[in-house]
Symmetry: C2
Subunit: 147 residues, 2 copies
DNA sequence: TGAACAAATCAGAATAATTCTTATATAATA
DNA sequence: TATTATATAAGAATTATTCTGATTTGTTCA
């Protein structure tokens, strides 16, 4: 169990390094620190939130590096940007297909998985005209805390 | 046919006036002008876009009024804010349940209707904890022009 | 191991979208 | 028509994000 817990941290970081090498992208301490904060983070954090977390172990990091790095990660397919309503950008390290509940009041976003949503049939009219690469369901309402 | 075309403009505006009266919200020329631009607009326009259109007939309107009014309309349930990725806010006057295709490159948003998406079953775990008021499907990819 | 060089970072300035402030104007009401 | 609460315009302020330019660092390969 303990071994497993340790591996959990080791494994994704090694995969991260590999992906960087593949793409010819430098493995910098900043990038490792940012990626480490993202691993397993289910809160869909903003750049600011990530910045504050990273600063604990990396006090001199600049907010610009956070933004640039998240953009790089997004281009590499290491994180997704999350749908929102014109508030701040938020990022999602969960790459497996999944769906979101969003609280209209506090903007909390909660993941959920639902197999029956993973193969929804988009209407022909759309499919014929555009190339659809991913489909997701967004449920909205009020969360437990806001109710 | 001509009569119908004329009525198309008249009807929603009268409904608009009624809704304002119900809510005790003043019917100002600015609000009418902004609402008129929204009627039947399927492009999910931004505040800036709406501003430019309204200015044609209302040159002295201020951008702040556009934002304030759209926020008022949103609170009244006259428009929805559209999901996006941290770009500018966009608004949707279509209130019937529908779904979106979004181009990842040019951010074009296209409505589609699909009955089978209108009663998706959200997992118990979510439904039990939160109150879900609406569910939508977002398909993403590249539009015809960007392909 | 240690140049060489492209890439990445930092700090702070710049930009852009949105909101706020305040003085003035106006819609609703009686 | 006078009263009053609400809405507006203009421009300042704020905030998130991006850009710029000087400096540092990771990677490569001799
Ligand atoms: Mn997620
Ligand atoms: Mn729409
Ligand atoms: Zn909430
Ligand atoms: Zn496009």
């Amino acid at each position: 169990m303990q071994t497993k817990a340790l591996n959990k941290q080791k494994e994704p970081l090694e995969l991260f390094r590999e992906k960087c090498r593949e793409r010819g992208i430098s493995i910098t301490p900043q990038r490792v620190a940012i990626y480490s904060v993202l691993i397993g983070n289910q809160a869909h954090p903003s750049a600011e939130t990530i910045y504050n977390r990273v600063k604990i172990t990396f006090p001199d990091i600049s907010i610009d590096t956070i933004y640039r790095t998240l953009s790089t990660f997004s281009n590499m397919g290491l994180v997704d940007e999350v749908e929102g309503y014109g508030e701040v950008k938020r990022y999602d390290p969960e790459l497996k297909q999944h769906h979101h509940f969003r609280c209209k009041k506090c903007n909390k976003i909660v993941d959920f998985h639902e197999k029956s949503f993973d193969n929804l049939k988009i209407p022909k009219a759309i499919k014929e005209k555009f190339s659809v690469s991913n489909i997701k369901v967004v449920a909205e309402g009020l969360c437990d805390e806001c109710l």
